[in-house]
């Protein structure tokens, strides 16, 4: 509406009646410049603080397409540029013959006072493609905090302040019935649930614990919380990586935003274990009352506590190392033929679902022909409990030569699905150990090997020879050395082969005169033309050169006796374009006529003939290529 008003005034100015209404002009100017109609409004709460105190800045930006507000720097205060509360509301504005959607962004920022004085705060933002600046908001910073201290204010999550006046003349969205929201309606905004995937489990079995918070997805309400509340105490469980899923769920009460947390857990002890409730107490809901003002309502919700019965495992067999779940096993030996003293690796990879810490390494096997190191876990995906992977590696160092077998290693785990133990086994691997036939497992005492070889040396001097100080060229090894060496290996054969190729071509040309004539036809023709042209008879030069060129490329030895018709017929026999044949005939006949007339032609005609010769020979060259 204001825009329309300004538009009218503009047309009013254009009509040239401004000089008659200076007061009206000043009024209009002030209404534009003073920012009364600025789409950005700013408010500081409280307006008086002490040095070091914090305060809140509320910024509203209204428009069809609005950007985020940015604060203009102020010396005495410091503002955190990230808002601690963000809200957006949308309105449809109807005008005569048009309607538009207006979005209002409400942002709450935290600031702190640094210096004593009265400071002004302004914010700017992009609104509908233009940059606007808000009116100034003033804050008085005194040496001491005025009573009551703003820091003493309760730190409830993002408390939007009631506006002293509605800056945009907007009404907040009302409930669908147009009545004030009742407590029963507000209670339905948040639903908190929890669930266990199983009620009875074995000790160490992995199960999923799910927490759900459903928040009514409505523009009328917004939940005032910046983070999810803490999960209940799960000390009786080993916890895996929490997975969060967010989605929309439609119910008879409306659409809910669902936040689902799935926690893989593994009970630590047997008996009845309790999972506490997920507590959403002291949660605030922002809504708009009948007057269009934002209001807060406190709700407390929590999920029901859950009980879990945990059974003890049945008595365990041999080769059980604590794994519970469902697993598969693959094994591998790094080498099957090896020298005495060279270690090889036996790897067993266990994959499956279960608590990864319970997947422990089996006892190391013992062989009389090899030394086996303690097991080491060299890799493993342990994050997602439904798809874990552990590789256990033994290093086997043969100490006796011969042919042996690496036997299976048994690995037993408890499968809670069937309530029984299951056994996996590694493959057996044949191994050939080569080397000296002697046994080398006897430890050699410190001081030397049994077959120690020593070298006696003759010394030229008993003293250490002095340093070398002269005639030294110190230069770091060039980083391009390898590249240069590579180039030196590659380039000579390349260049040499190129030279051999040219040599072969030259030899071929020497041995085949017809081929040579064809190759050098153009050069010879031009050479002949220039030679005869120097004699002063250009028509003769063109005729002879052209005939020679055609003779060379077609393969006729003596071209001097050829008539124009002969040339045309030869070209026709070679299926050359008739137009070109005609052109050749025409130029040859012209040359003949000039030659027989015996008259000297003008310089211009000479030039034309020369150009004609060159253009024709170029055309012929393209064809005979």
């Amino acid at each position: 509406m204001n825009l329309k008003f300004i538009k009218n005034k503009n047309s009013f100015i254009k009509n040239g009646k401004l000089s008659n209404h200076p007061l009206l002009f000043l009024f209009l100017l002030s209404s534009i410049c003073l920012g009364d109609n600025s789409p950005i409004q700013i408010q500081v709460e409280p307006s008086e603080v002490g040095v070091g105190d914090t305060f809140e800045i509320i910024v509203n930006v209204q428009g069809s397409n609005t950007g985020e507000p940015v604060f203009n720097p102020s010396d005495g205060v410091q503002i955190i540029p990230q808002p601690f509360y963000s809200g957006t509301s949308t309105q449809m504005q109807f005008g005569p013959g048009q309607s538009r959607i207006i979005t209002t962004k409400e942002r709450h920022y935290r600031g702190s006072a640094i210096k004593e004085g009265v400071w002004t705060i302004t914010a700017s933002a992009d609104v509908d493609g233009k940059q606007y600046v808000s009116p100034e908001a003033r804050i008085k910073v005194s040496a001491t905090s005025p009573s009551p201290s703003p820091q003493a204010a309760p730190q409830t999550p993002s408390t939007p302040q009631r506006q002293p006046q509605n800056p945009f003349g907007r009404r907040g969205p009302s409930t669908s019935s147009g009545q004030r929201a009742t407590n029963a309606q507000l209670d339905k905004i948040l639903i908190v649930e929890s669930e266990l995937s199983k009620k009875i489990v074995y000790q160490g079995e992995v199960l999923a614990l799910t927490f759900r918070a459903k928040i009514l997805d409505s523009p009328q309400f917004s939940l005032q919380t910046s983070s999810l509340p803490d999960l209940p105490n799960l000390d009786n469980f080993y916890m895996g990586k929490i997975q969060q899923n967010n989605r929309i769920e439609n119910t008879s009460d409306g659409a809910y935003r669902l936040i689902e947390l799935i926690v893989p857990v593994c009970p630590k002890s047997v008996g009845t274990l309790t999972v506490g409730s997920w507590d959403w107490s002291n949660t605030y809901v922002k809504y708009y009352n009948n007057w269009g003002w934002p209001d807060l309502y406190q709700i407390s919700k929590s999920s029901k506590p859950l009980n879990l019965e945990v059974r003890a495992l049945p008595p365990s067999p041999d080769n059980y190392y604590g794994a519970i779940g469902k697993y598969t096993l693959t094994s591998n030996l790094s080498q099957t033929e090896v020298n005495v003293g060279t270690p090889i690796y036996l790897s067993m990879t266990i994959r499956g679902s279960g608590y990864p810490e319970f997947v422990r390494a089996p006892a190391k096997p013992s062989f009389d022909w090899a030394y086996v190191s303690d097991p080491e876990i060299i890799s493993g995906n342990l994050e997602t409990w439904d798809n874990i992977e552990k590789t256990i590696r033994f290093s086997i160092t043969p100490i006796k030569p011969g042919n042996y077998q690496v036997p299976s290693i048994l690995y037993t785990y408890f499968n809670p699905q069937i309530g029984q133990y299951a056994t996996l086994r590694t493959d057996t691997f044949p191994i050939k150990v080569t080397g000296d036939a002697k046994e080398i497992d006897n430890l050699i005492t410190a001081g030397g090997t049994p077959r120690i070889e020593t070298k006696s040396v003759e010394l030229t001097s008993n003293d250490l020879l002095p340093l070398v100080t002269e005639g030294i060229y110190l230069k770091p090894v060039s980083p391009y050395r390898k590249g240069a060496i590579f180039a030196m290996f590659i380039l000579p054969p390349f260049l040499s082969l190129l030279s051999i190729g040219f040599g072969l071509r030259k030899e071929y040309l020497q041995n085949n005169p017809m081929y040579r004539r064809k190759i050098f036809a153009y050069a010879n023709a031009v050479e002949k033309f220039n030679g005869l042209k120097a004699g002063g008879n250009i028509a003769n030069a063109v005729e002879q050169a052209l005939k020679q060129y055609i003779g060379d490329v077609i393969g006729i030895h003596n071209t001097s006796g050829l008539t124009t018709d002969d040339v045309e017929n030869l070209m026709k026999d070679k299926n050359i374009d008739r137009e070109l044949v005609k052109k050749v005939g025409k130029i040859l006949k012209t040359c003949e006529r000039i030659r027989y007339s015996g008259e000297k032609i003008s310089t211009v005609d000479e030039k034309g003939l020369e150009e004609g010769f060159y253009s024709l020979i170029e055309e012929l060259r393209k064809i005979f290529k």
Partner: protein, 262 residues
């Protein structure tokens, strides 16, 4: 272009003088019996990519005087690897080897192999590759002129070119063998247990002493699989052995001194 060339030459001469100065400082420190400073200066030069037999020789001397015989041997061997006819390095190496607990010989190739490649042992890698390149280029140059010379001399060019390429291939093989041969290493601590497996828990088979030279067949996770002259294999800790082939590793002196004291 001229200015650019001037700057390049200036840079080359300046960098040269920087290295020379550092080298001279190392020498001065050595003559003042400040061996740790000398070592520091020389090691810094090696770190900046200089491969010079005289530098390794001087560093060997400095290590010898600072009581690190293993490191002295490793650096003399490095000097001899770059210049096998470096007499001073050979003499000093022999002197230090005589002072080690036992003068353990270098694990060598079999006799027939040594005879087959007798010519190849007296040459450094650098020389081997240089000869290979010279013959390679000469051979191809001769081939390049093959089609451009008179018929009568053509066959000589062909024969000479083929000989050059053959010699080049022989030296190329030698260079590759030198590159592929497992490097040699020197024990740089007083005593180093050689274990059956690359683990501290693995039992020790025998011991090597400072200055013992072995072939390093493999390195794995901070351990080195070594082969002694009498074909004994085992694992030693990677920081107790110094390999004398490039890339030249920096030595942690504190670690060595602590180990020696213990």
């Amino acid at each position: 272009m001229i200015i650019r060339c001037f700057y390049i030459l200036l840079y080359i001469s300046m960098t040269g003088s920087i290295y020379d100065q550092s080298f001279m400082e190392g020498n001065d420190a050595y003559y003042k019996n400040d061996f740790s400073t000398a070592i520091l200066k020389y090691e810094k030069l090696i770190e900046s990519g200089i491969e010079n037999p005289a530098l390794f020789y001087n560093l060997g001397n400095a290590y010898y005087h600072s009581g690190n015989k293993g490191l002295a041997i490793a650096n003399y061997e490095r000097a001899l690897d770059l210049n096998p006819s470096f007499k001073m390095a050979k003499d000093n190496l022999n002197k230090v080897l005589n002072e080690t607990k036992r003068n353990l010989a270098i694990p060598d190739e079999s006799l027939w192999w040594k005879y087959l490649f007798i010519w190849h042992y007296g040459l450094s890698s650098q020389w081997t590759w240089s000869i290979c390149l010279i013959f390679w280029i000469t051979g191809w140059v001769l081939f390049a002129f093959l089609m451009w010379v008179k018929k009568e001399v053509k066959k000589y060019f062909f024969v000479l070119g083929s000989i050059c390429l053959f010699v080049s291939i022989v030296f190329f093989t030698s260079g590759i063998i030198k590159k592929m041969t497992p490097p040699l290493g020197v024990i740089i601590v007083s005593e180093s247990p050689v274990r059956i497996a690359p683990s501290d828990n693995s039992p020790s088979r025998f011991e090597l002493f400072e200055g013992d030279r072995v072939r390093v067949e493999r390195e794995d996770n901070g351990w080195a699989l070594i082969l002694t002259v009498d074909k004994e294999r085992g694992w030693v800790k990677g920081n107790e052995i110094l390999i004398w082939k490039p890339p030249y590793r920096k030595v942690e002196l504190n670690h060595i001194n602590n180990k020696k004291e213990s």
